[in-house]
Every structure is written in C-alpha cells, then in structure tokens.
Amino acid sequence: MSGFLIAVFIGAPILLFVIMMIYFYNRFQTLENRCDESWSNVGTELHRRHDLIPNLVRAVKGYAKHEKDLFDEITKARALIKDEPTPKEAQAAERALGGATGRLLAVAEAYPDLKASKNFLQLQQELVITEDRIQAARRFYNGNVRDHRNATRQFPGTVFKAMFKPTEQEFFEVEPIKAAPVSVNLS
C-alpha cells in the first residue's frame, strides 16, 4: 500500500507536468500560427496600399510636375519596402511612405482641377477604404500578439517559454494616410 502511495505522490506531479507541457507547447504553436496568419493579412492590405500609391503619384504628376522632390521622396520610400518584412521593418518603411503620401495629398489640395478630377476622387476613395482595412488588420494582428505575449510572459507560461523558446512577436503600428474627406459609397 505504501509503495502505491509513493508511486502516486511521485507520478501525479510528473503526469501533471507532462500534461501542462503538452498544453503549453500546443498553445504557443496556436498563438504563433495566429500571429503569422494575421501578419500575412496585414501584408495583403499593405500591398493594396503600395499598388494604389503609384496611381496617386501619376494623377498628381499630371498637374504638379515641378514637385519633383516629393515624387523622389515617395520613390525612395517605396524602395524601403521589402518583400517579406518583419513588423519592425514594415513599420519604418510604412511610416516613410505614409508621410510622403500625406504630403502628396496636401500638395494636391492646391490644385482645384486635380481635386475635382474623377480619377483622383476615385483614388482617394480607394485610399480611405484601404487605410480602414489596414487599421482593421493591424488591430487584429496586435490582438494576437498581445495574446501571445500574455501566454509567454505570465506564470506558468514563463516556465514553458524557457523550455520551448517560442518566437518573440512584435507589435505593428502604422499611422493611416490622411486623405481629404471624401464620401465613400460601399453599397
């Protein structure tokens, strides 16, 4: 009987530890997959933004050819964009691109003909929708990163973090490009 009790006292904590190990390993994997998946969603939305900006530049170029410095700045900012950036890299590149595009839209304000052109208005509408989608994807990604950080930085997750070494996840912040107010019809 005493042998059985000793086995239980030794075996039960070991079994509990093994169950917790399996649980935390799977939890870290799930959370990492969620982060990866939502980061790829952010990438898709940023790609929409990158496709849209050259069209905006072309539209403004037709009216404000002398703004060469600004066009160069946008070209340089676009060159910073990598194919598969980390959140930190994307943040720096998007900040530069967003800033330059914001200035481009401010310049466009000085050209009433450009502001009234159908093509430019349509591009602005698309920009509003794209920025909204980027912010939604960013919130979701950051939510997943927060869950991952909570799981790895709270006890007993800290114990298993040292064991499994899950990839550290980074938050992603990006300021939306402020377009002049336009009415968006989504219907």
């Binding site: 969620r34 939502s38 919130r139 979701f140 939510g143 927060r146």
Partner: protein, 216 residues
C-alpha cells in the same frame, strides 16, 4: 424461481416504472400550475408555449444549462421590424424575468455572443476558455466575447463599438445567422421597447459597412 414468481417480479417491475412515470408527470403538472399562479399574481399574461425557437434565427437558446429548466413564453409584441418578448425562467423555485428583443439582420460572419462577464466566465477563462481579448482592458474585463472567427469579432467590435457596448451594458447580445438579439433583465414595458430598439439600431449602425459590402 417458479414461473409464477417470475411473472410477479415482472409485474412488480412494471408497476414501479409506471408509478415513477406517474409521479414525474404529476410533479411537472403541479410545477406548471404553481408557476401559472405565480405568473398571474405577478401580472403577466401567461401562455405555456415553448414554440419560440432562437435557433430559427441562428441564435443560441438562452435557457440551456444544468440548472435551467424551462423558458416560458409569456408575452410578445411586434415593434416595427423586430420582435420582443418577456420570458420567465424558473429554476429551483426562484424566478428570473428577462426580455429579449430580436432584430432580423443577416450576419456576414460567424455567430457571435457578447455577454457580461461573471464569475463563471472568469473561472472558464482561467481554465483556458476561449474568450476573445481586446485592446481595451476595461472592455475585456466587462464582457465575455465568443466567436469562432476571431477576425470577424475584431471587425465588428472596434473601439467605437466597445464604447457603445460599455455605455449600454446590456447583459447579453447575440448575433446569429439571421438576427441580432439583446437580452435585458425585467419584463417588457412601454419604456424599454424603444430602448431595446435604439440599442439594436445603434449596434447595426456601428458595424463597418465594408463587412456587408464583402457579403454582396
């Protein structure tokens, strides 16, 4: 055992079964009579109907759970395009009166439940229950959000929606395939009908239009 003894044993077994079934039936009837008397004394127009089926709208029944016996359909009213009704839930001799309002609206994503967080949810959460956390700690502490599609929950519950839900503090909101439901404590009154209607309208107005655009 002789054949007579065997037959007697069978008769005894059937008699016990019948007595038990009869006792169950009588207790259910007695309970219903008691409940009816209580409802009438409390001023409700009682109808022992169980036809209201939240699943019809892709919603989850509110009367499920180990200690919840029956949801009684008591009264209903039609207010423009939405339906509301008071339910009285009887459990272990105590009665809970609550009203639900349902507005027909299609859901472009998965079923979602937004419930005021209680001790049960906190316990579930500590055991690894899948509550969706949001960037607002205040909101996450107050509400228990469940949705299979986490992205959809994030799309619907944006910062403005969180403020809206925290301003109104409704005990339970559900968004099924075809309807949005809100539950409040207490009976249906002429005051809370517009309140429920406005809440549902306000909720729908705050759902980003791009979600519905995606659907079409």
């Amino acid at each position: 055992m002789s054949s007579v003894g065997y037959v007697l044993a069978q008769i005894a077994a059937v008699s016990v079964f019948l007595a038990f079934a009869s006792w169950m039936y009588r207790s259910a009837k007695k309970e219903e009579r008691e409940f009816q008397a209580w409802a009438e004394d409390s001023g409700y127009s009682f109808q022992a109907q169980r036809k209201w089926n939240p699943r019809e709208y892709g919603l989850r029944p509110l009367d499920v759970g180990p200690r919840r016996k029956v949801t009684w359909f008591v009264s209903s009213g039609l207010y423009e395009a939405f339906q509301c009704q008071t339910n009285i839930k009887e459990s272990h001799g105590s009665h809970e009166v609550y009203t639900v309002a349902v507005k027909k609206i299609s859901n472009p994503g998965s079923f979602m439940s937004i419930e005021r967080e209680d001790i049960r949810h906190k316990a579930l959460s500590s055991l690894g229950g899948e509550d969706i956390g949001f960037e607002s700690d205040a909101f996450s502490r107050l509400f228990w959000v469940q949705c299979k599609d986490r992205k959809h929950a994030y799309d619907v519950i944006h910062p403005e929606m969180m403020d809206y839900l925290m301003d109104h503090m409704m005990p339970h909101v559900q968004w099924g395939d075809r309807a949005l439901l809100v539950k409040i404590q207490g009976p249906l009154t002429s005051q809370n009908v517009p309140q429920l209607w406005n809440f549902l309208e306000g909720f729908v107005a705050r759902v980003p239009a791009r979600l519905f655009a995606k659907q079409t």
